[in-house]
């Protein structure tokens, strides 16, 4: 039995359905992420798990027990808020001791547990400081220590790194992974940042318009998006859309509008004439000048119309002779070169049929 079960949960605000029949089973010890754009219902779902909001339909079970009758203060889950919500009139120690006092922990045990929690987040020497004397990253760690000190069965994190700058965010990501491993508590993490979700999670539920679009491991979400939304939302992706022209021997040929026929390896049983899509990641496309690569399953000629230089890689925007726009990425890994192509260069694009991922519908 899963630790946290969300069964067919729905939440409406007037005419707007924020969460629409979501079912999830989250296992003990898992780092589980709810990923989606703002307004997709992920935060509403988190608030319902915490108890700040109640479902209009469906149930939320923790260890098999229905939580609906329990107010937030009586649920064995803890939340790390986006704004940290540290109590400004208490020191770091006072903040971390707060849930222990609420749980009527013996006064003699409190200092030990507080010290332990502060050690977990590497803030041992900061106990006497007030929140306004801490940096953003330190506040974040105090919020986590405060939430973990009573060893809840589930920790809910609501975009906890959103307010930090990029460098610090990466550091905190690594710390979060290690911390979760160390304490073994189930993390339910809400974010709109897909790279963060991919880096941190054991499993990701991609949400859109109140529904779960795909529930899978990060690598599968990235490589095998189940819907066009997932393909588009996670990373950058060329979505090649058109009717199926042929389907035989594990290969589908799609008449992509504005481009031409594209072959893709798939087990799909879609009939000829039905609308399908191919998700093609920029890094799967090979980009070169000279004669076309006739051996490749798919090859097109185009002109570089723009590029984005990222340092380690360059993203090229290529307009094909047929007028379609394709994004291709190449690593700037050759010695002595900064990048390979300039705007106006005629380039050959090619990729094997296994490079794309077919999405039916």
């Amino acid at each position: 039995m899963a630790l946290l079960e969300i069964q067919d949960v729905t939440r409406r605000f007037g005419d707007f359905t924020a969460v629409d029949g979501v079912s999830l089973a989250i296992e003990a010890g898992e780092f589980f992420t709810l990923l989606g754009p703002s307004g997709c219902g992920k935060t509403t779902l988190l608030r319902m798990i915490a108890g700040f909001d109640l479902p209009d339909g469906g149930r939320i079970l923790l260890n098999g027990e229905d939580l609906s009758g329990r107010p937030p203060e009586a649920r064995p889950v803890r939340t790390v808020f986006q704004s940290y919500a540290l109590f400004p009139h208490m020191t770091v120690e006072g903040n971390v001791a707060f849930p222990l006092k609420m749980a009527k922990t013996a006064a003699a045990d409190i200092p030990g547990k507080v010290a332990e929690a502060l050690e977990d987040v590497r803030l041992t020497t900061f106990g006497r400081r007030f929140p306004h004397e801490l940096s953003g990253g330190q506040k974040q760690r105090v919020a986590i220590a405060r939430a973990l000190v009573t060893h809840p069965s589930v920790l809910l994190l609501d975009e906890p790194l959103a307010a930090l700058d990029a460098k610090l965010r990466e550091e905190m990501q690594i710390e979060l992974i290690n911390l979760q491993k160390e304490v073994g508590i189930t993390f339910v993490y809400v974010t709109h940042d897909q790279t963060e979700a991919l880096a941190l999670s054991h499993r990701i539920a991609v949400m859109n318009q109140g529904r779960v679009e795909q529930l899978d491991a990060p690598s599968r979400i990235y490589s095998f998006p189940r819907t066009r939304f997932v393909a588009d939302f996670i990373g950058t992706c060329n979505l090649l859309v058109g009717p199926v022209a042929a389907n035989a021997g594990g290969t589908v040929a799609v008449d992509v509008r504005g481009l031409g026929q594209v072959k893709v390896a798939t087990a799909s049983t879609m009939a000829v004439g039905d609308e399908g899509a191919i998700a093609l990641r920029p890094e799967k496309i090979s980009l070169h000048t000279g004669s076309p690569d006739a051996a490749a399953d798919n090859h097109f000629r185009g002109t570089v119309s723009d590029f984005l230089y990222h340092g380690d890689v360059t993203v090229y925007i290529v307009t094909t002779d047929s007028g379609a726009t394709i994004e291709a990425l190449s690593a700037n890994s050759a010695a002595g070169r900064t990048k390979f192509h300039e705007v106006g260069d005629v380039v050959e694009l090619s990729w094997p049929s296994a490079a794309g991922h077919f999405i039916s519908g």
């Binding site: 803890r78 939340t79 919500a85 006072g94 707060f98 006092k101 749980a103 507080v114 009573t150």
Partner: protein, 299 residues
């Protein structure tokens, strides 16, 4: 040039208020301190500062009088008790009221605040006199109270000209001064803190005492000072609504200056009143900071 222009600007801005305070607050206060050491004039006011020999006529007689005649200390203590009670009752009434306003929808808040300060639009004395009618023997309130008392076989009482009337009016007059700073404070509170406290296991009561109340203390102190200090020196309310035993220190001071015309003694009483108010405020701040520190460290 830039520097000089800036310095001149600073003086132009802060000069007039400083001058005003100097002329109408600091100098009069010093004159009062000086007056407290002088001798009362034969027909009231002050005797000449220098006697016939040209020596300054300064003494501590008025101070000695204050400390040797227990009646003044008694009235002083009574005034302190009235002011403290007024502050406490105002706090108890104003806190829920300010909370209600702070939590009501934004579009209603201005109207509610307007209602709180509406009484200021009519004259202070008129509002005090209005209580004479409200508490008068022919009014419905007194009749009801005495009706109930008669039913239990108790002699009728007078609501007017009593400590009760004085206290009710003190609270009524000072209530807005408690509501406004409390509202200003409570309105800024971050709901996320209460959510966090609840998430960490605090029930409604614990959320109030451990989060909302400590965070509202600056508002409580401001409101308490705004109520306590004027309530301590008030004389109009006991004059109009109090009985013969309800004279407060403000009445005595007024008497010294306007009726008895013993200015040195009136000055002594004023000075003691100011010092007592300062000492109490200091004590409150000290106690407050101590308990805040204890709460902060989670002890």
């Amino acid at each position: 040039m830039q520097r000089r222009g800036e310095a001149l600007g600073k003086w132009l801005v802060s000069g007039p208020p400083i001058l005003y305070l100097l002329l109408f607050f600091a100098i009069p206060a010093l004159i009062m301190v000086l007056a407290s050491f002088r001798t009362p004039g034969e027909f009231g006011g002050l005797a000449p500062l220098f006697d016939e020999d040209g020596k300054p006529d300064l003494n501590v007689d008025s101070y000695v009088r204050f400390f040797t005649e227990p009646i003044y200390a008694q009235i002083f203590v009574k005034s302190l008790i009235y002011a403290l009670l007024t502050t406490l009752i105002c706090l108890v009434i104003a806190y829920p009221l300010a909370t209600l306003i702070a939590r009501s929808p934004k579009k209603h808040r201005d109207l509610l605040l307007l209602l709180v300060i509406l009484p200021f639009w009519s004259n202070f004395l008129i509002r005090v006199y209005a209580w004479m009618i409200v508490l008068g023997p022919q009014a419905a309130l007194a009749r009801t109270v005495n009706g109930v008392l008669a039913w239990f076989g108790v002699e009728p009482v007078s609501l007017l000209f009593s400590w009760f009337a004085v206290l009710v009016c003190l609270v009524y007059v000072h209530l807005p001064f408690m509501v406004l700073p409390l509202y200003a404070n409570l309105e800024k509170h971050d709901q996320a803190l209460l959510d966090a406290a609840q998430d960490l296991g605090a029930n409604t009561w614990q959320r109030f005492w451990r989060i909302t109340f400590p965070l509202s203390l600056p508002g409580v102190y401001a409101g308490a000072a705004l109520v306590f200090i004027p309530a301590l020196g008030i004389f109009a309310i006991p004059d109009i609504l109090g009985g013969p035993d309800d004279s407060l220190i403000g009445n005595v001071i007024k008497q010294q200056f306007l009726e008895t015309r013993d200015w040195p003694f009136g000055s002594v009483l004023s000075i003691v009143l100011t010092l007592a108010a300062l000492a109490l405020a200091g004590l409150a701040a000290w106690v407050g900071s101590r308990s805040t520190r204890r709460e902060a460290s989670g002890a």
